[in-house]
Amino acid sequence: MEQRNVDRRSFLNQLGVVVGGATAATAIPAMNPASAQTPAAPKGNIPDAPLKFGHMTFLTGPGAVLGEPSLKGHILAAEEINAKGGILGKRKIETITADEAAGTDANVKELRRMKLSEKIDMFTGVISSGNTPALGPVAEELSVLTIFVDGCTDFLWDKAVPNPKFAFRITNIQSADGVTCAVAAAQAWPEAKRIAHIHPDYSYGRNAFDHFGLAFSKLVPGTQVVSEGWPKLGTTDFTAHITKAMSSNPDLIVSSVWGGDYVAMYKQALRYGMFNNAKFASTIAFGVAPHAIGKDHPEGVIAGVHANYYFTFPPGNRWPANKIFVEKYYKRWNEYPNFQSDGAYHTLYMYKTAVEKANRLTGGWPEEEAIISQLEGMYFETAAGDLYIRPDNHQGYKDAVTGFSKNVPEYPFQILDPNRMVTIPIRNITAPPHWPKPGHGHNDPTATYNWIKETWPQVA
């Protein structure tokens, strides 16, 4: 359907973009978080052999700043579940960990070891979007139930595992990052035409670049990319990239640099006056390590959170699941959770819920097939809002969120402005089921890219 001459505001309304402190417009009433529910007594005979989970995440290298929260979220959930006797009251969770930083090849080897040698019951974790497309097929070949926490690339389902059986993923799909950031930017700064990009040189950065560019150009006519910078992941000297971006006189600088890299980048950018000369939008800045962002961070920039989860949102007790989760997490680890914590934590509860539901149907410890069929199509409440596991691609979808940076007295670091949060229903910014998957050529874009390209109108 061709829609011409649509104005921006009405299309943004169509997308369901909400700005403010409210929860995403979901009709589901607030309920007690899954973690707080007491399950019904299990049916049938449950073995008391412990469940063995493999959790792979970055324990070393620059990625460890994301890996640690993932493991912490996992441990917190496992401790809680075990404290109540384990899953179905009988089976406690044991976790073996593996360092994702050992390299993709070693990770493939390690997953095989975990399944074939350690006989794990479920595999989870994984941060890098370079690794899920490598590990997804391995999970399928080994028939090991896998719930990736992150590694959010669209290509996992678009190309590497187009018909998943054993592999699932809980955090938001990668294309949502770029699109969410673009939607927020188009709404806040529709006058921005000249765009400069600084992205880490790997799939996440490439993906953010593509999707932001496409979505933004649909929403703001006449944009052009005036500069591209591709620092290697792990770079700490951004001065040349910052100068290059500024040299192009951009209206808006877009970045998907994260972690320690981002901390280094924004500090350098401050001293170069980058934030005075152009607007700035990030897909992930505040999502990685909230406490690492200083009070000196510029206010009022789009400081994304991986389209996923931010610990102060929704604020107060408006979404108790989050309040409870943050409190528990802070109590256990003395820091605030990020999207990895949320993902890893709820992965276990989601698994637990699926097992319980399957148990109610079949009794005894359910077959893996039964657990999978419960996971497929599951609606599940997380700290980040409701999560829906799409049965066709096993991807978890929840409404996308981003926001603007702001200093508040309650925290010793900068946070997202609770009154200016941007939420977008996920189904409006991602390719629907049955949308054709892209080809396997090395330059083919994601399904969502094609979908946006073909179905979004060009806003006048």
Partner: protein
């Protein structure tokens, strides 16, 4: 124009840091013929220690009494700590290996690199550490319509001072003569009453100090993160290869070449920015295996 000036300044800044690292690497090779693969890790360790010291100072609100100068004076503590680490490493790990072929030197320092990476993780955790307070205090100066961080100029000055100081130290002092003599013929040096073991420890410690200083001055402008050392090691190598193993002038010229090419690469030819650096190194090696300033 403004951009050109800033990119040139950026290059000088990067060159200053690279020089500090490469000079240490080159010095160690020059004196004891050790290619120290752990050098990058020592640089990273310097960054961590300095960031930690400055961070603690700020955290304990000493900051008020300390002032900017005081904080700047805290930075070299990281370098001194690394020198001390070097003084520990040389006698224990390297001394037994001098008679062995160089592949063993590579292997043992490769092992050390892996060990240090994990030690940093163990001691300092996985969250990046920053000493940004210093950079914030120093603010920026206007360059045309844009700004440039004052601190970066300070780093350039440190690099320059280190180059002059090191040169004077090696070519104009008694210790320098002894150092050079030892590097040329350690047996004869010993026979002339030079305590070679001590000279080696000193040389290694100085080399480590330079690496640590590199880390110390870079951390207010960037951040200490895991994996920092691996990134920089290979570039320091390119510097040393272009300039010439064991040559101080070489390290300086190499650092300038690498950082200017890198900046130009980012600005104009990002796809081959890295490849060009390695190609330059390969080309220099091919034409002059001992680098632009090195001797066999």
């Amino acid at each position: 124009m403004t951009i050109l000036v800033i990119q040139i300044l950026n290059s000088f800044f990067y060159a200053a840091v690279l020089f500090l690292i490469a000079a240490g690497l080159s010095l160690i090779y020059g004196v004891m013929r050790i290619v120290n693969l752990a050098h990058g890790a020592l640089y990273a360790l310097g960054a961590y220690v300095s960031a930690w010291i400055v961070g603690s100072a700020v955290g304990h609100a000493v900051e008020g009494n300390l002032g900017l100068a005081g904080m700047l004076l805290l930075l070299p503590l990281g370098a001194i700590a690394i020198a001390a680490v070097g003084a520990l490493i040389e006698p224990t790990l390297l001394r037994p290996l001098y008679r062995r072929p160089e592949e063993y030197h590579l292997l043992v320092t490769f092992g050390l690199l892996m060990i240090l990476e994990d030690v940093m993780k163990f001691v300092f955790g996985r969250t990046p550490l920053s000493a940004g307070a210093i950079m914030d205090r120093m603010g920026s100066i206007p360059v045309g319509r844009l700004m440039y961080p004052t601190y970066n100029l300070f780093v350039v000055a440190v690099g320059l001072a280190a180059a002059i100081g090191l040169w004077a130290f090696i070519y104009r002092t008694k210790f320098g003569v002894i150092l050079r003599a030892t590097s040329q013929d350690r047996r004869m040096a010993a026979a002339l009453g030079i305590n070679v073991s001590r000279v080696y420890v000193q040389a290694f410690a100085i080399g480590c100090f330079m690496a640590g200083l590199g880390g110390a001055v870079v951390v207010p402008a960037q951040a200490a993160v895991l994996g920092l050392g691996i990134e920089v090691l290979i570039l320091a190598f390119v510097v040393v290869v272009i300039g010439g193993l064991g040559s101080l002038q070489g390290a300086l010229v190499g650092a300038l070449i690498v950082s200017f090419v890198r900046t130009a690469g980012i600005q104009f030819f990002p796809e081959i920015e890295l490849a060009v650096l390695y190609l330059i190194a390969a080309a220099v090696l091919l034409v002059r295996p001992t680098g632009l300033f090195g001797r066999a």
